[in-house]
Structures are given as C-alpha cells and as structure tokens.
Symmetry: C2
Subunit: 358 residues, 2 copies
C-alpha cells in the first residue's frame, strides 16, 4: 500500500495563523503536531510501503522539514511547480508508483483534514483496498451528521443492503439547504471526503480514458535507474505541468468513470474549512467556547466564542459568537457566522501589497 | 509655582495593558509617551519651581525612571508607603513645599488624565493662581459635555456673572441620570476634575481645621538642612501614614471649607476611566472605530470597535461595539458597554493566584 498525501493547499481561511508559506496543512490548529504530521501518523500503523507527499514548490522545504523525523517508512516529497488541482497531482503520483509497482495499491488522503477516530479510518481504508484490488475506484463517503451545504455529496446505490462498498449513482455539487436536508433524510447520500483507494494502473487507465491530454503527458514521463530518485524528475514534471489543465480528480475522472464505488464511514471527520470548524476539532467548554493555545481563560458572561491565543491569558467579558485569533504579528476579530469572509481580509492585504502579513 | 502630581493610582480597568506594577499613569494608552510623562510635559511651559510626584512605593522606581530625562526643572518622587487617598498625599506635599516656601503656590494634578487643549489648562491654572494667592482653595470645574453619571459635580454660585472664578455652593456625588441631565441644563454645574490650585499654607491651615488628626501628624514632620533632600523623610512619612485615615481631599477639606472657588474650563478633558473612554483620547475613524498601536487595520463591515493591538496587523470582520486588547501575554475581548467589568477579570485572576497576569 502506497499513501499519497495531497498537501498542496494554499488556504487563506485560517489567516492569520495560516500564511502563504504556511498553509493550513503545515500549521497546528490544536496546538500540537501539524495537520500534515497528524495525517502521516494516522497511516503509519498501516505499514505503507512508501508515503508520497505532493505539495507546492513554495512549501516543499517546510513540508520536508516536518516529516524528516519519521523512521521506518520512506517518505518522498514531490514539488509541483504550480497548483493544478488534484487530477495532475494524483496522476503524477500514480505514474511514479506504477513505474515501480504497476498494480500497487494507492491511498489518496488530503493533508488538512481532521479525523477523531483514526482506527475507523484505517479499517475503512483496508476494506476499500479489497475492492480496489479488483479494479474499482474507491472513494470514502462520510456519513453526514447535519445538512451541510458546504460539501459535495455522493449518492450511493444501496439497494443491495450491507455495510458497503456501494456503487455510486452520482456526485452532487454543494446543495442548497432544502436539498441537503433531504439528503440527510434519505440516508444514501455521503459527504465527498476527497479520500480515495485504487490501484495505480486503474487510476492511470481511467485518466487516460477520461482526461486524454493529462494521460498522454503523464505517459511521456520516463524513469532512469532507481525510480525513487525523484529529484531527477523535476524537469519532466515541469514540462507536464506547463501543459495540463486545472482539474479536480472528481470532475475529471470520478464523475465520469463507471468503476466508482463508495465506502461509507463515520469517523469524526472534519475538513476544518474555516475557523468556525474549531468545535469539530476541539470539544467546546460548557459555555460553548473553544479556547486554544492560551495560558488560561477568564470568561465573564461570555459564550460560544472560538479563540486561538498566542500563549496569552485570555479574558472574555460579555461577548458571544466571536472568533478571535492572535498571533505575534496579527489579530483577527470576526463574527462567528462570517468565518468564510476571512479570505476577504487576505484579499485586501494582497491589494495593499502588505506581503508581510500574507 | 509648585506642581504636585498625584500618581499613586492602581487602576485595574485598563487590564491587560495596565498591571499592578504599571498602572494607568505609567503606561501609554495612545502609543507614545505615558500619561505621567504627558502630565509633566503639559506643565513645563508654566516654568514651575519644582515638580513633586507623589506615588506608591511599588511604583516609585518606574515613576522615577520615566521622568529622569526632563531637564531644566527639579522633579522629586515621593513614595507613599501605602495608599491613603488624596488628603494625606496632598497634605504631605504641602508640608514639604511649605517648609521651603510657606506661601508657595501649589498646583495639584492627577497623573492619569487626558487633556486635548493643554494651553487652555495652563491659562486656567494661571487664572486660578490669582485667586489662590488671596487665600482661596481653587478647584478646576470641567464644563460638562454630556449628562455623565460617573463623575462628581461642583455647583457654582454664578449669580455674579463673568468667566469666574465662582464661589462653590456644594459638591455633589455621582448623580443618577435624570439629575445629571438637569445639571447639564442648569449650566452652573461642573465636573469635579480633582485639579486644584492653592497656597501651601492655605491648604495646610484648612487641613488643620477640618482634618485635625492629619494636620497634627503633618505638623510633626521636621526638616533638617536642605529641605529637598527628601530621602531623609522616609521614616517620618512612614510614621505619618501609619496613623492617617484613607480620606479624599474632597471629602476631608473641599466639601467643608468656606474658602473654595471653582474656575470653569473647557479643554477636551477625560479622566480615561476605562477602555470605553478611548474615543475621548483618539479620534475614531469614519466607522466609529479607534485602533491604537496596530501595524494597520483591515475592516470588513465592522464599526464602533475600540482596539489596542500589540503592533499587530488588525482585521475585523462583521463585528461592532467590541473592545479588543492584545498584549504579549494577555488578550481581552469585551463588549463595549461592559468596560467597567474588566476589573472583574483582575479580581478573578487575583482569586486564582495568577500573579503573572496582575
């Protein structure tokens, strides 16, 4: 089993903690190891043959730094010259794995998700691996716990009862609330987690079928000698990326392929999409407040606040539903329901050329 | 003219910027010189003979440090062994001045007030000095600009029209709102500023008359040689303070004396009583927000916030009427109307024994 970790994100929604050079996956939102490190650690018990981390050239050095201390497993960091969404990243990783082990099993995991029950993840991956060996594209579907309108959904064909895997009827874009409520009721809709299991040769032949331009570009990559000397590939990767389109694997392959199956899983998952997702990652106190990385907290008649401190003593007086984030060089105060608008702050700083704070 | 600056305050309402060892007068709320330094600087053009700063023994060293660089004027720092309110502090300063210059004019100023129009202050002090030379206890009355319920008032006898000084009819404690509105209407009520001008011998004889115990204790202080070698006085001050009561000069003398007059003044005054007073000190922006000590600010749909940053870039998203204060070791978020409750935070930290943050 090969683990491919997609770590190329450049999220701006965790500003000011996340920055251009330290996006969400490279920071620690809960105050201990970074999200990338937690992603690596949660697959180590699966004893993968290798771990390939695909990231952006800007973050490659820091990515490398964060994983050098893991022993007993080979970890390669592959630097994309530019961000082209998930299809090229996955295709590149599959090409590298296939050159060494054509039918090698490949697990694709985003580097910036939170999973409370890691054992459930590992069990699900192993169960998905069974079907993947038979040539299916397996996707993990999160059992929805609320009518979320911020995620895409996967509709499963559950006519044949059982615990899955199930054939996939269709992928659905982020739905309006009414529809999301219906999905929750119907019981055969799952959140699209962006976690996949397949054989390297399966995904490559599906890419060749549904994304011929990408397939051709990848097929042109040649390997000399030890396939794992990835630094030799830099120029070829550069050439591939100069021509490929920005396409997600969902849009490019999963929504078109006939070989897609979904494995439902309940594992306390969160994509930690913005500061407002903190309560999914850290249990709130009795007043509904999450206070992270603080020297302590005094709360007077306050509730439902999400606070990330810079090791400071925090005091809240008469405030509710606030997001407050303090870092050595920036301070964010945001109405809790408007966490999505934090990216507007980054846009404004960009416009002003305030690169120190980006 | 001798200037006596009362710098013994231990305010907790500017936590976390103010601390036990650095109360309001020793910090800079506006980002430049401290309130004590600004108090000293605004009287320097009056060319005072000396400046006496009365402070607490805990803050004496920092007080000294903040004023050592002023040239051309002698500045003495007198350390009270414990806080006993304004009457003993003023009596002690008057005793020291009188030992050297019995009829010396003495101006008493709090160290922690903000005054926008400093020239108006100086003109008023000079006009008050005239009447003070004739043996009156002169008090500065601030022209009220709103029906403030947080201040005491001075009712003047303005039957004899003119610009003042006017005889004082009575001192009034903090009034309820209805009464404060009436005072504003009537036009002869002024805010009690705690700023005074009198001769040293006048105030000492009034203390002797109305506060005989304090008068007697002060009369017992003896001076050897150069009266300004104040360090010789430490033991005597200790002895005086061990016996005197905690009494304000207003209650002990001003409310009882027949020799009190008030000089009205309009000078953009604020006692900067809590974080909510920031807009009296720094002009708010078009959205009603005051942002101090920040590297910059991005405001998205936010208004009427009072922010003190730790040189950080500040971003506000969808928030209104908040107080946010960030320091290297503490972070306060407070509903704007509840600034008075910041002292509850300090009380709670005290209870917890969190002395680092006090």
């Amino acid at each position: 089993m090969y683990i491919v970790i997609l770590a190329g994100g450049s999220g701006t929604r965790f500003w000011p903690l996340s920055r251009a050079a330290r996006p969400k996956q490279l920071i620690s939102i809960t105050g201990d190891r970074t999200m990338l490190q937690r992603t690596v650690e949660r697959v180590l018990p699966l004893k993968p043959k290798r771990i390939l981390i695909v990231t952006n050239v800007l973050q490659a050095a820091e990515t490398e730094r964060q994983v050098t201390h893991y022993r007993g497993v080979a970890i390669d960091v592959i630097a994309e010259p530019c961000a082209r969404n998930t299809a090229p990243a996955i295709g590149l990783a599959a090409t590298i794995i296939a050159a060494h082990d054509p039918a090698g099993l490949m697990v694709v995991l985003p580097a910036d998700h939170f999973i409370r029950n890691e054992e459930a993840l590992r069990e699900t991956l192993e169960s998905a691996a069974h079907a993947a060996r038979n040539g299916y594209l397996m996707t993990l579907g999160i059992m929805p716990s609320r009518p979320e309108t911020g995620y895409g959904y996967i509709e499963a064909d559950m006519d044949l009862r059982g615990s899955g895997p199930f054939p996939v009827r269709r992928f659905v874009e982020k739905p309006p609330l009414e529809q999301a409520i219906r999905y929750l009721d119907e019981g055969n809709f799952f959140w699209n987690s962006g976690m996949f299991v397949w054989r390297a040769d399966t995904i490559l032949s599906e890419i060749a079928a549904h994304m011929p331009a990408l397939g051709q570009a990848l097929a042109g990559i040649t390997f000399n000698g030890d396939v794992w000397e990835l630094s030799d590939l830099d120029n070829q990767i550069e050439a591939v990326y100069s021509g490929v389109e920005n396409t997600s694997i969902d849009y490019g392959v999963m929504e078109r392929s006939e070989r897609v199956q979904v494995v439902p899983v309940e594992m306390g998952w969160s994509d930690v999409g913005s500061w407002s997702a903190l309560p999914e990652v850290v249990e709130p106190d009795a007043a509904g407040t999450v206070c992270i990385n603080a020297a302590g907290m005094v709360s007077i008649d306050s509730s439902d606040c999400l606070i990330y401190a810079d090791k400071q003593m925090v005091a809240a007086v008469g405030v509710n539903n606030l997001i407050v984030v303090s870092t050595p060089d920036a301070l964010l105060v945001c109405e809790r329901d408007r966490a999505q608008e934090v990216k507007k702050v980054v846009e404004e700083l960009n416009l002003r050329g305030s690169s120190t704070f980006l």
